[in-house]
Amino acid sequence: MILSVQNVVKTYGDYMAVNHVSLDVPKGSVFGMLGPNGAGKTSLIRMITTITAPDSGVIYLDGAKLHARSPEQIGYMPEERGLYKKMKVGEQLLYLGQLKGLSKVQARQEIEHWFTKFDIKDWWGKKVEDLSKGMQQKIQFIATVLHKPKLLILDEPFTGLDPINTNLIKDEIGQLNAAGTSIIFSTHRMEQVEEMCDHIVLINKGKNVLYGEVGAIKNEYKENLFRVEFQGEAPADFPDRWVVKDRKNHALTFQLENDDQSNDLLRHFIQKGARITRFEEILPSFNEIFIKRVGETE
């Protein structure tokens, strides 16, 4: 495990922002942290990044309790992010890199590496305020990953990004992950979770309400829905145990009692002489799971 959060509590005055949350982030995973606004995601992330400390509970990073030098192993891009507007790009990255424990020489080498990669070699002396928004976001990303963190925490990383930069950053995240960086990805955009994450946690009202591997969660929440597309006449009748949930021309959706009846369903269609063009299991989208689970825990 790159990160292990154990029974963590955080209160602000009378308000309990994080309520006994436990979770593990496997090494090398892309871990989605989901939840409505105000659920406690940012409070949890701030404890992981050592910005605040838990009232109780423990957090381990790569097997060791969080300590003063832990931030050097974490790259954090907060939702509220920005840069010193009046500072030059190069100086700013040098400064932020050194604060993350790099030496000046190391920081300079890394900056040059990323400048070459993004093809922005002539930006060193430019002031941040003279850069476009998209350009600033590239610099922000470089600042986050400059010190080669083991764990990268991205809070709503794509808000405000144009499609080109979104893809660019997505690619970079993919490459970093392939190279072994674990990634925590906090968002409320479900399609990104499905696309990128292998594990998720759903937080609502400070509590961990759903947690696990993406495929397993989907299986757990599936309703044994199968959709058959075919040509020709639909079979006239079905056994009662198969409920027709949706009926369209040449497409029927069934809810089965359990998923090992899927072959029976297909066989039934074939025996009745229909020509199958498509047969699939319909898994719930994370959006549905999310709304369902949040509704259950309200």
Binding site: Y12, P71, Y76, M77, P78, R81, G82, L83, L99, K100
Partner: protein, 442 residues
């Protein structure tokens, strides 16, 4: 520690290289130079040509002529002329005005009215010259008429000076100038402390607010402790302030020397109020005083004053700058809100300044002065102001200890507010809420 050093460096370098810093550092001496240069020019400004005044001496005061001055040229009206014919001369621009001196009712009058005829406004300068000259003439007239001996009269005047002498403390042979010089020194130090605390404290606040509005603060927080960031800012800003003060001291001295050489001012001429006769001190006396004052300034125990003042500067700066930092973190991007919250912080500074200027300088050892120089919110301004009056050493030591202790406490307290406030967005902050932050854990 290394991180604090990085923060100090950044804070210092970005500020010192900023356009605002360079402009204010250079423009202040320029403004200062322009000020003293213009003042010197205006003081020596004659207001055009000297006025030509004809004197109608009805009282027969004037035996000899009246010597001309820089502003006024005098002519005595011939005995056959009267007021009306002289008025015609004024209309014909022969003279600028007529000064009529009616006879004295008797020799013991204490008040006499003279008349000046002209359609031009009488300037205060000329009015002063005319009345002073005529007072002299009437005095001479009275002396002669009463047959008094001029020499005896002069011997009546005695110049008294007071020389304070110590009874037990032998090292303190103060001269009559000591307290005057002490007032000067204490005013100077007091006002300097006031400016430093207000100006650079506010700079810390702006710098904190800037990080919050830039939204970089959370990025920073994931690398450094909030306390490190706050302390780095406070120390970095102190460096900026010190740099600026040193540059100002050098530049203003150069400008002063340069401007003085250019317009040829002497120290007395720049002071309009120091008009010799009017103050009963003539120029030669002022010139005698100058080395005495310098001597008195040099006699001060400067090592003591400077070292203790620096201690108060450090304590006062940290005390107030940390409060400004906490404020900046709490208000964030709302400048107007910032101003309303700054007032409670500025209030003690202003009160301290008032006590320093109005109480300490008149009664440096009064109970209020002693209290204010021990109370840590006032002492950074009041105690350095008292130093030139030589307060008891135990008071100075106690005051320094209280101040430094309080400063450490306030830095800690502000750190607790700062760490919460800096991450708080989009919420209107009340004093009650700030109070709650103090007790948040971790």
């Amino acid at each position: 520690m290394n991180k604090i050093w990085l923060i100090i460096q950044r804070e210092y370098l970005t500020r010192v290289r900023s356009r605002a810093f360079i402009l204010s550092t250079l423009l202040t001496p320029v403004a200062f130079g322009a000020f003293i240069g213009l003042q010197a020019l205006f003081v020596t400004y004659k207001g055009g040509d000297a006025k030509h005044v004809v004197v109608l001496d009805e009282g027969n005061y004037i035996k000899t002529g009246i010597p001309d001055t820089r502003e006024v040229r005098f002519s005595k009206a011939p005995a056959n002329r009267n007021l009306d014919s002289l008025k015609n001369d004024v209309r014909a621009k022969k003279y600028d005005g007529i000064l009529r001196l009616p006879p004295l009712a008797n020799l013991s009058v204490k008040k006499q009215t003279l008349f000046y005829y002209s359609d031009d406004q009488l300037s205060p300068d000329i009015e002063r010259t005319l009345s002073r000259k005529m007072e002299e003439k009437i005095r001479d007239f009275k002396i002669d008429s009463l047959h008094l001996d001029r020499k005896t009269l002069e011997e009546l005047d005695t110049n008294v000076s007071l020389d304070p002498e110590p009874i037990d403390k032998e090292d303190k042979n103060a001269s009559t100038l000591t307290s005057g010089v002490a007032v000067g020194i204490s005013f100077f130090i007091g006002i300097l402390m006031y400016i430093i605390v207000l100006m650079y404290g506010a700079m810390v606040m702006r710098s904190v607010m800037e990080e919050k509005t830039n939204r970089i603060v959370e990025v920073m927080m994931s690398s450094v402790r909030p306390f490190q960031l706050m302390l780095g800012k406070i120390i970095g800003s102190a460096g900026v302030g010190t740099t600026q003060l040193i540059l100002w001291a050098i530049l203003n001295t150069l400008v002063f020397i340069g401007v003085s050489a250019m317009v040829g001012v002497d120290a007395a001429a720049t002071q309009p109020g120091m008009d010799g006769v009017a103050n009963g001190v003539d120029a030669s006396q002022a010139q005698e005083l100058f080395p005495q004052i310098m001597d008195e300034i040099a006699r001060q125990n400067w090592w003591y004053i400077v070292v203790v003042t620096i201690l108060f500067f450090i304590g006062g700066y940290f005390l107030y700058a940390s409060m400004f930092a906490a404020l900046g973190s709490a208000v964030g991007d709302d400048m107007g809100e910032g101003q309303s919250l700054t007032f409670p912080v500025m209030l003690p500074i202003i009160v301290a300044f008032l006590i320093m200027t109005s109480v300490v300088m008149r009664a440096p050892n009064s109970p209020l002065a002693v209290f204010a120089s021990l109370f840590p919110l006032f002492s950074p301004i009041v105690m350095p102001g008292r130093l030139a009056f030589d307060p008891p050493v135990w008071q100075v030591v106690l005051s320094v200890l209280i101040l430094l202790g309080t400063a450490v406490f306030f830095v800690w307290l502000s750190g607790r507010i700062y760490r919460v406030g800096i991450l708080m967005y989009g919420k209107k902050v009340t004093t009650k809420e700030i109070w709650k932050w103090l007790f948040y854990k971790g």
